[in-house]
């Protein structure tokens, strides 16, 4: 490729339309490598892409796919909403009381550092093996992701904007709604972006430990039956779920951050 074709002045149109082509190429390459792996390792060790796809098809036809996906998705969503809301709101409250912030800081850091998986036996003891345990488990992961991102947003507020708006007659509520919220929003989106896949994988891992339904339960069950195709099919379904949810989030984010000079093309 010549320099001119890749330089800043090459056509934007050409560049954009190359992106999906590139993605497709990477996808095909991955599947080829997968198939090569199957050929060298054997089907029992690494089921082929076609077998995996057949299994997913079968699960879809029997209704198991819909049922297990819904259970896992429900757990992840509930945990995300509960933990996410708490984690997102807390920085707004702490902003109003620096003293509370200093008091809570070491506690939150300690709780953040605690491995949630190690608490799983306690969660099961308290909440049983039903949905609640997984929701709490997901919430305990998501909470910190949104809390620390929200806090970074609060700390990046421009005090000059706050002063300007106060002079113009803004109440504390208006400051929160106008400046604190708008400054923090991009940070919360970044937090959400990390939290979404974590919530889904959190629900799956929770189901590994104790469950009677869900994609994690399906994977765990397949594993205990030495059904590698089932394990791989479950993993692929979870991955696709994460990708779909991410794409939706990206849409929402692009719309609500339209004012930002770079937001429209930024994918981080």
């Amino acid at each position: 490729m010549t320099l001119a074709a890749t330089g800043p002045w090459s056509g934007v149109y050409t560049k954009r339309s190359l992106v999906p082509v590139g993605r497709l190429a990477v996808g095909i390459a991955l599947i080829v490598v997968w198939q090569l792996g199957t050929n060298t390792m054997g089907r029992e060790w690494l089921p082929s892409p076609l077998d995996t796809l057949a299994r997913i098809w079968q699960l879809a036809a029997s209704g198991e796919l819909a049922r297990d996906t819904l259970v896992t998705f429900g757990e992840a969503a509930a945990g995300l909403i509960l933990g996410g809301a708490a984690g997102a709101v807390l920085p707004f409250i702490l902003r109003l009381s620096p003293r509370l912030m200093t008091a809570l800081d070491p506690l939150i850091s300690a709780a953040f550092g605690m491995p949630k998986l190690a608490l799983a036996p306690l969660f099961i003891l308290w909440f049983g093996i039903g949905i609640t345990t997984k929701v709490v488990f997901v919430a305990s992961i998501v909470f910190f992701l949104l809390f620390y991102n929200g806090l970074a947003g609060i700390l990046s507020i421009d005090p000059r904007l706050v002063a300007m708006l106060r002079v113009a007659g803004a109440s504390e509520w208006v400051i929160t709604r106008e400046i604190v919220w708008n400054t923090t929003k991009p940070f919360l989106f970044s937090g959400l972006k990390i939290a979404l896949p974590r919530a889904l994988s959190g629900a799956v891992v929770g189901e590994f430990i104790a469950a009677d339904a869900g994609l994690g339960w399906y994977i765990q069950n397949a594993r205990s039956l030495n059904d590698t195709t089932g394990v791989l099919a479950g993993a692929v379904i979870v991955t696709v779920l994460v990708m779909v949810v991410n794409a939706i989030l990206q849409r929402v984010q692009a719309r609500s951050l339209a004012w930002r000079p770079i937001a429209r093309d930024m994918t981080v």
């Binding site: 421009d158 000059r160 904007l161 002063a163 300007m164 708006l165 106060r166 002079v167 113009a168 007659g169 803004a170 208006v174 106008e178 400046i179 708008n182 004012w259 930002r260 000079p261």
Partner: protein
């Protein structure tokens, strides 16, 4: 024009910032600063960069507190040092055009300009008309839906200026509002400002480091010393209005005042 009670009176103002950690004492930025502004007066203050001009306006706008001194608005004590809580803008009586444009980046230009009016519940038909006139006078018509990052520096500056003019506070504090724009635009903006001031006859406290600007705009020029800022001279400017700002040196008496202010500043 001068009534018995000044519009704004500043008495014995002193300010030092809290010491940085590890340092004993921070220096005084303002020390025993006193002056007053008459109703409808255009007061300019000129001082070297770093003298404490922004600090002074922050204190008057009650964005920041003083260590000593008092501030009166129409004879009423509105701010005392080290005591009562601050009331930024004193219930929308003080407009403040800050040194940076401080536009909200997530709001369009027109939303930025009308936000104070909306916050104060005063965005009625008359206000709408006024905003339209101001947009027109500052050549911002047509850019209403642009976000601040899509405007030039001069346009942002003008938007921040009319954001304050639009809600029409009795006193407007201005902190080097034109320092960031090119000379051509600046003369235009100064002319616009004088025309708007003449229409509405506000009280203005205009701070700058530019001697020519201070003389060209003001009824009176106060000269500030280097920090800690004190008032070292008080010049009444009797140059007739309307003034042609494109040709300052042709203005009657401009050269003499310029020379003496320059000497005061040394």
């Amino acid at each position: 024009m001068s009534s018995a009670v000044p519009m704004l009176e500043v008495k014995g103002l002193a300010k030092r910032f809290p010491p940085r950690s590890g340092q004993a004492e921070s220096p005084w930025i303002l020390a025993d600063l006193s002056f007053h502004v008459a109703d409808q007066e255009f007061l300019t203050m000129v001082g070297p960069s770093g003298a404490g001009k922004s600090t002074l306006l922050n204190i008057i706008a009650q964005v920041d507190g003083a260590n000593e001194g008092k501030i009166f608005f129409r004879g009423e004590l509105i701010e005392t040092a080290n005591g009562s809580a601050l009331h930024p803008g004193w219930n929308c009586q003080f407009g403040y055009v800050t040194q940076d444009d401080n536009l909200l980046p997530w709001r369009t230009m027109i939303d930025n300009v009308t936000l104070p009016l909306k916050l104060q519940g005063r965005f009625d038909a008359a206000a709408r008309k006024r905003v339209d006139e101001l947009l027109h006078a500052t050549h911002l018509t047509g850019f209403e839906r642009y976000y601040p990052h899509e405007l030039s520096g001069g346009m942002r500056k003008r938007a921040s200026l009319i954001r304050t003019l639009a809600y029409d506070p009795p006193i407007i504090l201005m902190d080097e509002p034109f320092s960031a724009v090119d000379a051509q635009t600046r003369t235009q903006l100064q002319q616009d400002l004088l025309r708007l001031w003449n229409l509405g006859r506000k009280t203005i406290v205009f701070v700058t480091h530019d001697i020519a600007e201070a003389i060209a705009l003001g009824d009176r020029v106060l000269v500030l010393s280097k920090s800690p800022a004190k008032i070292v001279a008080d010049h009444r400017i009797d140059i007739k209005r309307p003034r042609d700002l494109g040709n300052l040196y042709k203005l009657e008496g401009f050269g003499d005042i310029f020379e003496s202010v320059r000497r005061d500043l040394q």
